[in-house]
Symmetry: C2
Subunit: 221 residues, 2 copies
């Protein structure tokens, strides 16, 4: 599936105690880092092997050794990104905070991406969806599904505990959160304005809980 030619020659890159996904060699891992940054800023159709090779100071041919083609590289990018995101959500769960605080933490993940002047990888790929190879399409949808599932559970727990209030289903509310935060990133990034994102996140999450959300410096609520 991922076409990492060989395994690590040294230690490989591991995340932690729970092993998620394939481990890439140091070079393959760095290729993914560079490609990821390029896709998140320029889009999958807006970068080339030449771009990655130039930034890494290796040749295009070397890239093909690690990832047979752009499609395989793209697939690996999503898989790694999704695994990292899932790990971040698990970390939030393990912190054992209240549902409302979990939603704040969720929004903070988006904010961190935007801080690096990047778009969410899968949000970017969602825009280019029609041009993507099938394997990438499937992976993109799975990413959103995973987000939805996690949010749904947080929302249900919050509603059961009485700390979150919302109309309609938890699923629709989860989809609203995902869509709104993705869109907030999409629009805020061209303006280079973090506050634009924060204002939307505050508005969205603010309707779910009485307490102020997301790095709320001004406590007008």
């Amino acid at each position: 599936m991922v076409t990492a030619g060989k395994r690590d020659e040294t230690g490989a890159a591991r995340a932690g105690p729970s092993d998620t996904g394939p481990a890439y060699s140091g070079t393959a891992s760095r290729i993914l880092d560079v490609a990821e940054a390029l896709v998140q800023t320029r889009g999958f159709n807006g970068f080339s092997y030449a771009d990655v090779a130039a930034e890494m100071k290796i040749t295009k041919a070397a890239l093909h050794y690690h990832f047979a083609g752009k499609a395989e590289l793209g697939e690996a990018l999503i898989t790694r990104y999704a695994a990292r995101f899932a790990a971040a959500l698990t970390a939030v769960d393990c912190a054992g905070a209240q549902p409302a605080a979990k939603l704040d933490a969720y929004a903070s993940l988006y904010l961190d991406v935007l801080r690096n002047q990047r778009m969410c990888l899968c949000g970017m790929l969602a825009a280019e969806y029609q041009t993507l190879p099938e394997a990438m399409r499937v992976a993109v949808l799975r990413f959103f599904d995973a987000n939805e599932t996690w949010l749904e559970e947080v929302l249900e727990h919050g509603r059961a505990a009485g700390t979150l209030r919302f109309e309609g289903t938890a699923r629709d509310t989860a989809r609203t959160i995902i869509g709104s935060l993705e869109g907030a990133m999409l629009v805020a990034r061209p303006y280079g304005d973090l506050d634009r994102f924060k204002a939307v996140a505050r508005n969205i999450l603010g309707t779910l809980a009485p307490a102020p959300m997301v790095a709320a410096g001004t406590d007008s609520a």
Copy 2:
């Protein structure tokens, strides 16, 4: 709204009594139609002159006669799209409905785009922003600015009349609406699921007014 069908080359394409923007020749207008559809579905970096020429059954060279380069074509696309969108908003204003109904109409404009399995032109370009020529960048931001200004006024009027309720500034709320609807389109399109968009729109607009919104056939909420 958004993207009319085909016009004959003798009549040129006019919107109505109030003339907005430059009038294109029949051919130029059809080029814009085809290119618009391609950008909205595949992105600016996901289509080529060859694609347009093929669909129109003319040659690439003919395209260059009407639009010197891809940058100029892109600029013309945004300008026309923004003018059409502005005209649609003016039409909503002239209908003289209540603020809440205007917001519904606004969301319907997005829904119509999604119905054609397209992304908002400027939402798509926002994703590709970093790769766009300067003139296109400016035009994209102006589109969002115009949306924001219009929504801001609707929101202010609604709040003054007591038919809309929201916390914070009208500007931040306007930005929330834009971001949320753009993001809802972005995510709903890959799933090919209109309901996904509707659910988000209902949730977002529902927090602003007591009445159900957006083509709410079932008022069970």
